[in-house]
Structure formats: C-alpha cells, structure tokens
Symmetry: C2
Subunit: 604 residues, 2 copies
C-alpha cells in the first residue's frame, strides 16, 4: 500500500522522535533541514530536502514531493504555508510538466500565524472565553509613547508586570519583568524595536501542561479535541527541565478543569495534530493559559512511555493522516512518570553522568528510558531527555528518581555557577494511597497496629478522626475528598453503634474496610454487627474485632491489584509468616513443649 | 562521550529493530548489507558498509571501523569472525598505517559455528545434560550406505522420523518427515548431497520459546543467563506466525522448567547477547530443546512492548556493551501480549487489511502496535509484525484480537490455497477478573444474587465449588491458580464452621471477600464469626450474613481502583440507589403511607 508522504519543516529532536514513531508504522517522512540533523539520522530515504526550513524555495521543493506538510517549530513563514495550502504552488508532475498543486498543511497556517503573535493569540483567546492573564498592547511609535504606555500598564496592572515581545520569543526569551519605573528604559533597550505588550504579573502555584490531539475532517471541521493527562512542568532559566505525571499535589477537580481549558483552546484553533497548552495554576485554584505550541512538545515527551499506544508523536502522525481509532482514549498505561531534560553542561562531558545513571538505575519498581538526540553538547542546549516510569505514586517515583534529579540539578548548578539548592525531604511526603479514619481518638490504640503495618509496607497514608455522630459533615467532606483521586482504599475503625465505616461507604465509590473496635460492653460484637450488617447496595468489608493489622493487610492486597510492587511485598510477607511458623515448629521439636512453654511464659 | 561502535552483519528486520533501539540510546551501529536494506532506513550515518554480509573483505572493512561485531543471522562465515576476534586482521590506524586489530565478536564465533551444525549442536547439548530429541548421524558416502543408515534409524526411532540437514536449514527448510521406507529415496533426492541426521519423531503438545540474555565479562566468563518469560509459538508452513505471552494453557511449573532449560542451554554457549531457545512441550510434561538462535528472534518481538524497559534489542546492545543494570529483572510490564507476523500474501496488497486493522483496533482494553520493516511484499515473506497488548489474561486478549488472527489466517489461506479453519468460539471464553467460590452447592442460592450483580456490571468471573473440608487440595489448587494472573479479587461464601474464605486467603496474596452463609442453626452467626475472626496476618474482608450482593459490589469497588471503567459504573450505580430512594419518598408523599403499604403488601 503506497503510504502518503508527510513533509516536515525542521529536523531537530521533535522531528527525530516523529521519525522514530513513523518508521515502524511505515509512514514516510520527508524532512527539510540540514544534512545531518537529528531527524535525518533516524530516518533515511531519498525524499529529504537539504536546506533551511525558513527558505521559501526549499519549502516548495519539499511540498512538491509530499501529500501533507507539518512543522516541528512554529517559527516558519506562514505566507508560504498559506500559498501551499490554498492558492497553490508550482510543482512538476510525473511527466515533468509544471502544474499548480495544493496540499494540506497541519496544523493550519492560520493556527501558526495566530500563535506567532502572542498578543493577538491571547486577544483571540479572551474573545473565546478562555482564561488568560490581563494584557495590553504597548505603544512603541516613539520613546515617549512607549514610556507613557508602560506607565499606563503599571497603573493598570500594578508592579511588577511582564513586558513581552509579541513575536519570535521562544523558551522564555523576549520576556522582561518590570519591577519599577526605573526598569522602563532598560527593558525598552533589551527588548529592542519589536511589537510589545504588557501582561499582569501572575504569581502562580504551579505550572501545568496538557497535550491535546486535534482531529478534523477534510473540510476543516473539528472532529474531536482529545486531551492527554495533565502534567506538572518545572522551568529553570526559562527552560523546561522536569515534567511530573501526574502533578504532585493537584486535586482531580483541577486536573479536569485544566484538561477542559486545554481542549477549549485547541478546539478554537485550526488543523490537525497535537498541541501543547501550558497553564498557570493560581493559589485560588484558577487556571490561566500561558503558552500554546501547535506541535509535539517537551511537556509531552513522557507520552512515549506513559501513553505508548498513542504517544504525542504517533498522535501527530495519525491525526494528520486521519487514522485515529474512533474510541481511542489517551489513557496512560503506567501510574506515574518523570521526565528530565538532558541539557548540555559546562563541559561537553558534563551530562555523561546523567547518561550513565540510566544504565544502572532500572529496577523492578522503576524503568528508565534514555533518549539522546544525536546533537552536539552546548551549555544549556537540549541534547536529550530521560523518562523514568514508576509503578506506584508520583511521590514514590520522585523518591526513586532522586539520583537523576540531583544529577540534573548539579549539572545545572555547575553551568550557571550557582550552588545546588539543598533538597527538602519534607516536600516529598507521599500522597496517600490509603486513608485511615476512626470515630474517636479512643480508637487510636487499636488502629495503630494497622498504621504500623502500612509503615512497614511503605504505603503512604493519611489518618483522620471523623466521627459519624459528632461531626457528620466532616465525615462526608472527608469521604468526598479522598474519593477524588490518589487514595485507593479507606480503612475506618469504630466501636459500639459503629456507624462510621458504613456511612463512609455510602459516600464513596472506593472500597471501605471496617474495623470493629471493642467498646466497653458486649465485647465488640455490637461494633462487629454495626459494621458488617450493611444493607444491600452499600458494602463494607469487615475485619475481625480490633484487628486493624488485617485491615491494613487487606488494603495492601487491594493495592496489589494495581501496583505489582505491593503484590510482591505481600507475597514476601506471606513467605515470612510461613518461615516464622516453620522456625517455631523446629524450635518446639528441638526443645520440647515444656521448655518452650516456660520460655514463652518468661517473656510475658 | 564517544560511544563505541557496534558492527552488524546483516541489515534485515532484526537489524532494523536493533537500530531503532540503538538510536535513542545514542549507540552507533555500522551495518553491512545492501544500500537500502531495512536497517539502514532507520539509521543513517557514515559508518555503514555496502555489500554482502557473506563477503570476507567487506566484513573486515566493517570490523576496521567498529569496536564490537555482532550478527542478525547465524549463516555467516565463522572463520572470518574467529580471525577478527582472535588472530587479528589488517586494518588502517588513524594515520593510515596498516596494523593488526582484533575486536570482540558477540555472540562468539564458537557459538555461531556450533549452531550452524544442528547435529553437532545437539550432540553438545546431550553431553551437557540438556534434553533434546534422540538423533543419529546418517551415512551419505554412497546411496547404499545412506539407505542402510536410514533403515537403522527407522528401526531405532520407529516411523515416522525426521530427516534433517545438519547445516544451512532455516525456518524449517531442510527437514523431511520420513513416513515409510518408500520415502527413503524421495528424501535422499530432496535433501541433496549434504550431511544428514535422523531425529526421533516428537509428537508435541505445544511449542514454547524463551529468550535469554547472556552477560559475560571481558575474559569470557559467564556473568548471568537471564530469561525472559516463556511464550507459546505457533508455526504454520514452517514459519512462526503467532506468539502468545503467556502461553495459553501451561502451568507455572512448566514455565519455570522451560526457563531453566533455556538458561542451561545459553549458559553452555559463548559470548554476549540474546539467544532464542525454542522447545517442544510433550504430552507428558517433558520439555525438549528444538532450535537455538544466537540473536534476537521472532519469538522475542513481543518484548518491545511487553518488556519495554529491556526489549530483546536493547538487551542485545546492553549485553554487548556490558551495561546491563545489576539487579534488572526481565519482568513483563503488561499481563499479556500476542504477536502476529505480517507475511506477504498472494497479492502485494493482501496484507493491507491487516495494517488497516491496527488503525482501528486500539481501545481501552487493547493496544495494537504495528511494525513495518520497509520490505517489499512477496508471498510468505516476513514484512512486518503486529503486537497486541492486553490488560488482563491472554485468553481475553486473544478474544479481543480475533480480527487480527482471522485476517492473518485468511491471508495465509488465500496464499497457500487452503480453506480457513473454522474458529472454535468455545476456546475463547473471557478470563475472569473475579473468582467466586463456595463450600457447597447449597450456598449457590445465596451466592447467585452476587453473581447477578457481577453480570449487571459486566465483570467477567468464574464460579467454582471448592470445599475446605471435603476437597482441601482442590481449594488450594484453585487459590494458587487464580492468584497467577488475571483474577484480581476472590469472593468465597461458606456456612457453619465456614473455613473456606479464610483458608483461601491463606493461599493467595489477592484480596478475599468472605460471605457468611446462614446455615441451619445459630442464624449465620457461626458463619460470620468463622470468617471475620481471622488471625493477624491473614485478612478476610467480611460482608453481612447472606449478603453476596455486597460482596460483589465490594469486589467491583476494588476493581475500580485499577480499572476506571468499573469505578465509573459504581458511581452510576450509587447515583441510581439515591434516585430510587428519592422516587420512593416522592411516591410516599404523594400517595400517603397507608396506600403505599397496601401496594407493598399486595406485591408480596
């Protein structure tokens, strides 16, 4: 079957990873870029064009041999792309005759043109009801006009505010933070003679990003904007350095809203492909769109391993060719992943230690994937990335990946001449997988045995007192909160008319394990019956009276159904139980029962 | 960091996938093969050599620019490899001066030489205590000598037996099944003038294969032979067409023995890299080694997706470079996978439908990965493969992959001019996520309510009667079997001295939900206490007396922790419960309690 050819403007690392995805799929890519660019190293054919992706003649030469055109960078001449997609350009047909040809350009030249002007882009988003930071254009006809305009911005937005160039900025270049009126002149000088705009300073809690795959029919009608999961991005020196999936401390509600905002953005753009939407999460929970990239993006590299069935690169290809399965959901196939960029260090060999780490760090709880781009190392240059994949929470993965993170930080510190910020261990407390609650602090003694088991198995958990009778509203809020994400199992202990476990079960879809705590009368039977005899429809898995140990073990068995790591620890624990009994039996055989009993009694 | 260069003899699909793995790792591969061979399409550099991997001069040209040499095919000249690895060959140094150079060859030329002679290879295995089929060399000095020798084999092994060429056979070519003395002459003619041997006919149940990664220090001392999981391979027309991981009906014991045998084989060979060991599983459970390939192999393609942290290709590279992490286990990261080869069909476009399927079949339960090799289609030629990955049992995956299997079978049928064998649906029952068991059929009435809930939620389950007291061995076997994979939760119901749920819990690491069934006396309290009051260490999550509905709902909540699909259904169910009660209250308000009660009583 003759596959259509996709022409690609630019052959850097994004193009290279696009080629790596295309190869096994039998999709032909023709790359326009220098002879030995990263993409061409991974894809050899006689369709490539040697030259600059900014050269109109070369772009047309490429287009002449392709069925589709796409980009790995948005800083391209959209006039040419518009001509190729709509008006037609001159090409030779099979007989060498010159004909007019048009081919589809994805994403659309319209999208790329809009994205190139950051001010216009955000005006457009405002018009479409998408949340962005407040902005105003800065006059630059004369120094006086600019100064007046900056003054106006300072009044309107307060200080500090951001002064940004509308066009051509990339990886944070072309941004200036105005802290005081003294900065006006310096900023004007630094930013040069380009269209500028002022943006309200947004003190954000965290940066989030969502990749979105956009499919569209041949008439340019949107089929679907499908979001990938939300990630947390870390920027240093205005370069993305780390990406956490899932974000470390973000509620399901925020995640859902971030995906919604990202899809709204991409639904309002044009053409097929993947799009990165970078956002700020504010202290008050609001989300603002910061940047949009109409192409595969650093924040989506993790999808190669985390969403392998449809990485951002495969999605770019399949959406362009319109071969995305109808019911495909971009669901991750692993619970957590961390991407770190390999940035060139102070020395050409500075990053070697990072590469070396990828050869030793793999284990049963952690996979480490190296991606080198075939680029020469220069200080601060993106020459590769590493994706670590974990089989439990992102907090656990972050812990396991500490050597990678430390190496990145140290290489950066050496490069920029700074000291490495000390690592704050307290920030890395695991987000709970198990929530433990009890009706009263008098239950804590009984429940503590289970908490110790959770500690022993390395299960992150939280403990709360939420009385069904005295704080019904707190109990409901607790059940609702823990049901949102992260927590997989709830353990609830209560005594007497022990309603807490069952009531919690009514408020959650999660499995609930009830621990009947023996109260002052009836020997715990009251507690047991109150917990176990739930009405049909609302189950509560009940454990023996006072046996919080078993509640914790049951919770770990449940975790084991999704985290192989815990299943393995449970098996090891069970082998331990066996070994203990065998050892006791051997001792009993060796010493005789009388001596054994004597020793036992002596220990009491 | 200057990476060593690995020279590769042969640039077919194995070489291509090796290059695909090497690229992101920054490992340089120099390929000796034709200009546009599959491997060179995926890897462009100025180290490649154009020519035949059988040409001694070209091999030396390649070796001159490499630090290691490896192969993607075993039909290579081992004299040259021995010279390169031990005696040294003439190469030019950086100043153009001719020097003697030796470089390591992995796997060793000794291994390749042994593998090339299938008779000698098996004699060696026999000597090392590795199980193989009985064999004897066939004299071929004259027609009479050959005839006598064949006669001797017929007496020794019975009829039928296999006549095999010792050298140069590949994908089953060079084998002849001797059914009667009449075949002697035909066989002699067909096999031509080559060294022959006879092999006892082995009627096998199933073909198994294990890839093994062999690491070795620089002195040639074995470090470790690490097995991948066992797979089941299907051969048609003497070509591997399908690979099932895990095998569909094979006990853990057989799997462990197959891995052991494979490691024994590979431990007794020489050099680094991955090795395929193909085996026969006989009816009586014995395992015989059939073939060994000292290189990546068709039966290991599934590792690209199923063991992504160390696919067979990455393992080949890392073992050659001696950069395998110490504690790396080749554990699969998915529960099941199925590989089918794309073989060229009767028409050059026959296989297109198979490729098309990969574009539509992906879903939340199934990932489909296409690998095209950049080869022209010819009837029966391996031009690509497809790996499907499933998230529960291999049986469920096989069911989901039915369209792929059917398309393969139909393309083959068209090519060889046969009818497609009808598909036996009964073999493809979904593998359970929940296992339900009870001590006696008298419990079935109570348990049936829960089974209906599982049906309503679309949960695949199995139901067994396994009495703790009457069939303790069946109960243990059941618990061991369901703990192996697929099943995530066990529900066990029992009455009276209800030991089954707790005993099952002792035999598994999975969460167990116990249903106390009310027996003839004590109103079910005996059952409840027997189930809930488990000793510390072995938890059993207990549900209200006779309440199998809640047991099923609890099981579904647990499934919801790893399958979002079930969490969503549980939420919807809980909304339904709410709606029901609201509706009843509205009705009560509307009709008054007397009419309501009357209607209720009338329904009874």
């Amino acid at each position: 079957m003759a596959q259509p050819v996709i022409g690609l403007l630019g052959g850097g690392q994004l193009g290279r990873m696009l080629c790596e995805a295309a190869g096994p799929l039998g999709i032909q890519i023709a790359v326009l870029d220098a002879e030995n660019c990263p993409a061409k190293q991974a894809n050899h054919n006689d369709l490539h064009v040697t030259g600059s992706f900014k050269d109109p003649a070369k772009i047309k030469e490429l287009a002449a041999r392709c069925d589709f055109l796409t980009v790995e960078i948005e800083h391209v001449d959209t006039e040419i792309l518009e001509e190729i997609a709509t008006k037609g350009f001159e090409a030779q047909d099979a007989n060498g005759k010159t004909i007019k040809k048009t081919i589809p350009v994805h994403p659309s030249w319209k999208t790329i043109r809009l994205i190139q002007d950051k001010y216009q882009q955000k005006e457009y988003f405002i018009q479409k009801g998408i949340p962005v930071a407040k902005q105003m254009a800065i006059q630059s006809d004369s120094d006086d006009a600019r100064k007046a305009s900056l003054q106006e911005a300072a009044v309107k937005f307060g200080l500090p505010f951001m002064l940004k160039g509308s066009k051509g900025s990339y990886d944070g270049r072309g941004n200036f933070k105005i802290r005081s009126p003294q900065d006006f002149e310096v900023a004007a000088k630094e930013m040069g003679n380009q269209p500028l705009y002022a943006e309200k300073w947004v003190p954000f809690e965290m940066e989030l990003a969502v990749m979105v795959m956009r499919t569209e029919d041949d008439d340019g009608k949107l089929i679907k904007a499908s979001p990938y999961p939300v990630v947390e991005t870390i920027h240093e020196d205005s370069i993305c350095t780390k990406v956490f999936f899932p974000p470390r401390k973000v509620s399901d509600d925020v995640k859902a809203r971030a995906q919604k905002v990202a899809c709204d953005v991409v639904s309002n753009l044009w053409g097929r492909g993947v799009f990165a939407v970078e956002m700020f999460l504010l202290k008050d929970g609001h989300i603002l769109v910061n940047e949009v990239a109409p192409r595969p993006h650093n924040s989506g590299h993790y999808t190669i391993e985390a969403v392998p069935q449809m990485s951002q690169y495969k999605a770019q290809l399949c959406s362009i060719l319109n071969t995305v399965p109808d019911d495909l959901a971009l669901v991750p196939r692993v619970p957590s992943s961390l991407m770190v960029n390999i940035l060139g260090g102070a020395q050409p060999t500075s990053h070697d230690r990072l590469v070396d780490l990828t050869r030793t760090m793999g284990s049963s709880s952690l996979d480490v994937y190296l991606h080198q781009y075939g680029k020469e190392s220069k200080p601060g240059r993106k020459i590769g990335h590493i994706t670590a994949v974990g089989y439990s929470s992102i907090q656990r993965l972050e812990q396991l990946s500490r050597p990678l993170i430390t190496a990145c930080d140290e290489i950066r510190a050496e490069r920029v001449g700074e000291a490495v910020a000390p690592h704050d261990e307290s920030k890395f407390k695991g987000v709970p997988l198990v929530a433990v609650t009890m009706g009263s602090d008098s239950d804590l003694t009984v429940m503590s045995a289970g908490l110790k088991v959770l500690d022993d198995f390395g299960v992150p958990y939280e403990v709360r007192i939420t009385s069904a009778h005295r704080t019904p509203e707190l109990m409901s809020a607790f059940a609702a909160e823990v049901s949102k994400g992260g927590v997989k199992v709830i353990i609830a202990g209560a005594g007497g008319a022990a309603h807490l476990p069952g009531m919690i079960s009514s408020e959650t879809h999660l499995p609930v394990i009830g621990v009947p705590v023996k109260a002052s009368v009836l020997d715990g039977v009251d507690s047991l019956y109150s917990i176990v005899q739930m009405p049909r429809g609302v189950p509560c898995a009940t454990i023996g009276i006072n046996n919080s140990t078993n509640a914790a073990l049951e919770a770990i068995r449940i975790l084991g159904t999704s985290y192989p790591e815990y299943a393995e620890r449970m098996k090891a624990y069970q082998r331990g139980l066996k070994t203990d009994v065998y050892a006791k039996d051997r001792k009993l055989q060796a010493h005789g029962w009388k001596a054994y009993l004597q020793e036992m009694n002596a220990k009491k």
